[in-house]
């Protein structure tokens, strides 16, 4: 049953609370990008993907698959996986602790359901996703492969190698997303690397390109519908989601400063007050 926008917003608010509480308990982690891509991943897992935690398997047979190429955004990933039923919500308290399944960056070595591949060293996930998409084509498995990249991450040359490969092999079952927040750890993207117009670049690469508002559920869902309709076109799809790093909390929004740093206790309290509690409850 598809969630209403109101229900999605409620889940996303809880996910943002989870993110902040996780990184504060761990005293480390990456809240900024996680909060910026919360609405995208919430919509993806609850309303878009053909996925089922009860029958999840790493080879992804018969289901959609997801790769978090920007592997540092584990807080949002783990929270969404827990809220979608892959892992107990209480396990979020173990994030980054010794022995945890919730490693700082995604790992397949701790038996964590929902994780298809390790990521963290940037620029590699889109290649893995392209491999998954090609595997599904060879197996005549009709499902999709999704992959979330960062705009800062797209400075890696391998992203563009994967972009070429996916077009050459006609991977129209591959739906990539870029968390286009214009920020990276050292500052605004245009002041760090001069990445230019990602939309024009992906079009030049031969992809179907969709630009959407990554905080508007109607815009997000429409983008995914268009992307899925791209199957049969012979082209992969890139959805460029315009987002705001740190979205949802006034003092964290729109700055790179919270990419990889953690609020102090009084800041956490303020942030949680701004977000407000939800009936879903904290972990």
């Amino acid at each position: 049953m598809a969630k209403t926008n109101e229900e999605l917003k409620q889940i996303a608010t809880q996910v943002r609370r989870d993110i902040l509480r996780m990184v504060c308990m761990a005293k480390s982690g990456h809240p900024g990008g996680s909060m910026g891509s919360t609405d995208i991943l919430t919509t993806l897992y609850f309303n878009v993907m053909n996925q089922n935690p009860a029958t999840w398997r790493r080879d992804g047979k018969g289901q959609d698959m997801f790769i978090l190429s920007a592997g540092h955004m584990t807080p949002v990933y783990y929270s969404v996986l827990s809220r979608a039923g892959y892992i107990p919500v209480s396990e979020l308290a173990t994030f980054r602790q010794m022995g945890t399944r919730l490693q700082g960056h995604p790992s397949i070595r701790k038996g964590l359901p929902g994780i298809f591949q390790a990521s963290g060293s940037l620029g590699q996930g889109l290649s893995a996703a392209a491999g998954l998409a090609l595997g599904k084509k060879l197996d005549k498995d009709d499902n999709y492969v999704y992959c979330l990249c960062g705009d800062g991450e797209s400075e890696e040359g391998q992203i563009w190698e994967a972009g070429m490969f996916a077009v050459f092999h006609k991977l129209d079952n591959l739906i990539a997303m870029t968390d286009w927040n214009g920020k990276q750890i050292d500052g605004p993207v245009d002041q760090v690397a001069g990445e230019g117009d990602l939309s024009a670049k992906w079009e030049a690469w031969g992809w179907n390109v969709i630009v959407a508002d990554g905080h508007d559920y109607d815009s997000i869902q429409k983008a995914f519908e268009l992307a899925k309709a791209g199957k049969g076109s012979g082209k992969p799809t890139m959805i460029l989601f315009k987002t705001e790093m740190g979205h949802g909390v006034s003092f964290m929004a729109g700055t790179h400063k919270w990419h990889g740093s953690v609020p102090k206790p009084e800041q956490l309290e303020q942030a949680l007050n701004e977000l407000g509690e939800t009936p879903l409850g904290d972990f």
Binding site: D59, I108, S127
Partner: protein, 317 residues
Amino acid sequence: MKKYTDTGKKDTRSGFGVGLLKAGQADSRVLAMTADLKGSLKMDAFAAEFPERFIQCGIAEANMVGAAAGLAITGKIPFIGSFAEFVTGRVYDQIRQEVAYGNTNVKIASSHAGITLGEDGATHQTMEDLALMRALPGMVVLNPCDFNQTMQATIAAAQYEGPVYLRFGRPSVPNFTDENEPFVIGKAIVLNEGTDVTLIATGHTVWESLQAAEALEAEGIKAEVIDIATIKPLDEKAIIASAKKTGCVVVAEEHNMAGGLGEAVAGVLARELPTPVVFVNGEDKFGQSGTPSALMAAYGLDAPHIAEAAKKAIAKK
């Protein structure tokens, strides 16, 4: 000593090509991927028989590694092939994350390894690849010695579940092992028994060591020759047993000192049975252009150098 007959010189990469085709015929999950080196990697026969299972990646090795990992996750058995330097040093971090840490069933087919790549020179001659691959937790590292053994090692790699680094070369070298001998991962092969010195070799230096053993025999020295076709996991028992018997060891490899088989063997002996060891390897140098045989001689990796090392080892007893 036991006689080995060269049935006709062949390149080990062609052994890979035949093994790949056989593995592909036996198992439809086997894929061949390359970064614009289909011919050099001898993948033509596979590509002709299984065009949908041959995946051209273009000159983009980093993406090839990641795509192979993705394909492996969906249940395929991809062999990714390029020159040794370009499927190790160039993509070390990709192999580390996507293949080793990700524990994906990817087979790294590493051709033109070592100095015998020859005329292209040092940019293409890696003498460091074994060090890089050995360093990765869980990586199986294979370095077969001739055409037949490379063919069998390729089949064994396809059957093994997990990451494998399979190293072979470009030059035509004597083909002397049994073409029907199944390759057993992790097992050292004692090619000749002896009591005075143990010659441990891998890849192209195995034949050179047999030649050295023959020369030594003419001087009354009985050399044991061990083919280490699996560098990791290392057959420690075989090494210790031989060292116990002979009391001294030579390790010959077409690789530099740092991180190579020599250090691996020395590590085992230092821990279990301190024994004099003499090393025959590329030391700490880059290669250069030349013919394979001229380079093997110039870098001290051929039979005369191995025989000389054996005498040094015996003198250390």
